[in-house]
């Protein structure tokens, strides 16, 4: 096989997507590494992936459902909370992992070539595996409360793609900026913690006054979480379309912008990191 490669300032573009395909197995291997490493030398291993979201769900249910007594619209509160926690946990993990991924793999970046996009993407894939595991808790909860989903569950894969795009888009922005400005390392935990309270995770977004709903939807996770709730809980939830459409546009912008910025700065990663 003979292929010609031309290296020139600002020329890597043309080869890029072909290279990404050539290195497709690396997505798998890097994710596999992170999953393997995560639970090495732990006593209960992969059970942590189930235990953590379950405990968080308990806390949120007790605080918002039992103590604050927020309305759930007739749905068991744990299911209301968990249907939102699924996308939120996925976003939070994927976002913080992918944001730090470039720095954590600095030695790879300065010593080997491969399309850098592989690194943050496989960080998101790792979180996606956690997401799938947490999905089983939801199934368990639904069986426990004898709660049956409706046909709206079929929309879920599309919403998963949307959640993927939010996490990936935000992750790409921060990851690329983190290479140059380590400040973002400290901003990430703050965004994640703060986001939990300003996103409708512990409560339904119906508790937000009508006139603030559109403004509230500027948080792209609001659309994703509302979508998840609607898909899982079905008709019990009133769906707020204008907000969802706004979120959709924001998510698309975030993702495309993130990809653009990442590609633009990628060439200098090895020199700066």
């Amino acid at each position: 096989m003979h292929r010609q490669l031309v290296i020139e300032a600002g020329r890597t573009e043309r080869q890029y997507w072909k290279d990404l395909w050539h290195y497709r197995e690396l997505f798998y291997f890097l994710s596999w590494r992170d999953i393997l490493v995560r639970y090495k030398q732990t006593a209960i291993g992969i059970a942590w992936a189930i235990l953590r979201p379950f405990l968080t769900m308990m806390v949120l249910t007790i605080v918002f459902g039992k103590l604050a007594k927020l309305p759930s619209g007739g749905v068991p509160y744990p299911i209301l909370v968990f249907s939102a926690m699924l996308p939120w946990q996925f976003f939070a993990n994927a976002f913080s992992e992918s944001s730090n991924s470039l720095i954590d793999n600095a030695n790879l970046i300065s010593k080997v070539y491969f399309p850098r996009l592989v690194i943050p993407t496989s960080a998101v894939i790792v979180s996606f595996v956690d997401f799938l595991l947490s999905g089983f808790i939801l199934l368990g909860l639904m069986a426990w409360y004898d709660f049956w989903p409706t046909w709206s569950l079929l929309v879920l894969p599309l919403l998963v793609i949307m959640a993927f795009a939010v996490a990936m888009g935000a992750g790409l922005w921060i990851a690329a900026m983190n290479v140059k400005y380590r400040d973002f390392r400290y901003i990430i935990p703050f965004i994640v913690q703060f986001g939990l309270y300003i996103s409708p995770v512990g409560f339904s977004s119906n508790v937000i006054p009508e006139k603030w709903r559109l403004l509230y939807s500027l948080n792209p996770m609001v659309g994703v979480i509302d979508g998840f709730r609607w898909a899982i809980l079905g008709n019990e939830i009133v769906f707020y379309w204008p907000g969802f459409c706004l979120s959709l546009v924001l998510v698309a912008t975030l993702f495309v912008g993130g990809l653009w910025y990442f590609r633009k700065t990628e060439r200098t990663f090895a020199d700066v990191i």
């Binding site: 096989m1 003979h2 292929r3 010609q4 490669l5 031309v6 290296i7 020139e8 300032a9 600002g10 890597t12 050539h22 290195y23 197995e25 690396l26 798998y28 291997f29 596999w32 590494r33 393997l36 490493v37 090495k40 030398q41 030695n107 790879l108 970046i109 300065s110 010593k111 080997v112 070539y113 491969f114 140059k180 400005y181 380590r182 400040d183 973002f184 060439r267 200098t268 090895a270 020199d271």
Partner: protein, 423 residues
């Protein structure tokens, strides 16, 4: 079809060096502060050039590098630390982009810039083979096919399922090299990786690399190990300060490089040895020179008005049965500062049995800076028989001969003088 595998045309790589901060990272705070400052400046003086606030300096790690490498060539890249060797490999392996220029590569490239890149200490040997292989660009199928070969090359059969954090450093390096050695690219770029591991293993690695080259693949090999370059490579490139000094057959380039190294060493020491290629075919020559201060201590730093002693060793048989010696002192900026000749000026000629001559020079009324000394032997009729240019160098410091502490750097020498008002 041409058999040129790598064609580099005028490539250069520029880095920007910052001179004002001590911190390694650019923080957002600095950027904001800088922006704020420059806006404030612009408001205050809208037409001045405010770009000079942050003192950035350009640094060309590589400049005007052009070369062709043919298929099956094994090319050694040599040079001092910081000469740009690693930067060159990084550009060829696409880790970083050149600032200017163009490289055309015909074939698959794999690079091995560090042993064990991407190894994860928590993973077992088996897991790391797959991970490292994938990072270096092998497919899972390739790794599976080569797996047994890799394991036996690394000699770690027993420890396959032990986390590599428990490996001895020797085992770690063996495994890492084994994975990389079983890549099968058309072009292999290798940076100083043989410096690790014991002698037996180094030998094994060299053997492996020789096989790679013999199979018709192209290898670029950076090393400080000259004997490895000589054995392994047919051709060599010598880089210095980001430029190609010389390229040619490896024997020739390594020889020149080693001579250059002696010169460079002489520059730092008070004892200078004559490089071997200067004295080929000479029957009588200056072999060695030492710099002493007036107490006989070796030094190359002198204060103003101190004296300097040169101990010169000559070797061989002069043309006539006696010879004269001459020294010349040049300032680093090029000025010819002083000369001294034993014969025509002092009437002193040395007997051909005299092999060690002492020259006492001083007091040195020279200004601050670096000076070099050239030495020459001459006949009675003042014909030079051997010249050693820039044999050694010394520095003058503390040149403030007058009442004020102001130090003098230019011009070359100081003449005593006084000032007084007479009217």
């Amino acid at each position: 079809m041409s058999d040129i595998m790598i064609k580099a045309e005028n490539i250069g790589k520029k880095y920007m060096l910052t001179h004002k901060q001590d911190s390694k990272y650019i923080t957002l705070r600095d950027v904001i502060a800088q922006k704020g400052k420059s806006i404030a400046q612009r408001i205050k003086a809208p037409f001045s050039d405010s770009e000079t606030i942050s003192k950035l300096e350009e640094f060309w790690a590589l400049k005007n590098i052009s070369f062709d490498i043919k298929q099956g060539d094994c090319v050694g890249i040599i040079g001092y630390n910081g000469a740009g060797k690693s930067t060159l490999l990084k550009i060829l392996s696409r880790i970083t982009e050149p600032t200017v220029g163009k490289v055309t590569i015909n074939g698959l490239v794999a690079s091995l810039l560090e042993v064990g890149t991407g190894f994860h200490p928590e993973l077992t040997g088996r897991e790391n083979i797959f991970l490292n292989g994938a990072i270096l660009g092998m497919s899972r199928k390739d790794i599976k096919n080569k797996f047994d070969e890799i394991v036996s090359f690394a000699e770690i059969e027993k420890f396959l399922d032990t986390p590599v954090k428990r490996y001895s450093s020797g085992m770690y390096v063996r495994l890492a090299f084994a994975v990389a050695a079983h890549l099968e690219p058309e072009i292999l770029l290798v940076d100083e990786v043989l410096a690790v591991g014991d002698a037996a293993f180094q030998k094994k690695c060299l053997g492996k690399m020789r096989n790679v080259a013999r199979e018709g693949r192209t290898v670029l090999f950076v090393s400080h190990n000259m004997s490895a370059i000589r054995k392994l490579c047919g051709r060599a490139l010598w880089l210095d300060n980001g430029k190609i000094v010389k390229s040619g057959t490896s024997g020739e380039i390594v020889h020149d490089y080693e001579q250059g190294q002696i010169r460079k060493f002489n520059d730092f020491s008070c004892v200078a040895e004559r490089p071997a290629d200067d004295i080929e075919n000479l029957e009588f020559y200056i072999k060695r020179v030492e710099l002493h201060d007036s107490h006989g201590e070796k030094t190359k730093i002198f204060s103003y008005h101190e004296s300097l002693i040169l101990i010169v060793d000559v070797f061989g048989v002069p043309l006539e049965n006696s010879y004269g010696l001459e020294f010349r002192i040049y300032k680093d900026s090029g000025e010819f500062a002083a000369v001294g000749t034993s014969g025509p000026l002092h009437g002193i000629y040395f007997d051909n049995k005299a092999k060690k001559i002492k020259i006492e020079i001083g007091p040195l009324i020279l200004t601050n800076g670096k000076y070099t000394i050239s030495l020459r032997t001459i006949t009675r009729s003042w014909i030079p028989t051997d010249t050693w240019d820039h044999a050694c160098s010394f520095n003058i410091v503390d040149c403030h001969p007058f009442a004020m502490p102001q130090e003098i750097k230019t011009p070359v020498c100081v003449i005593e003088h006084t000032f007084s008002a007479i009217r």
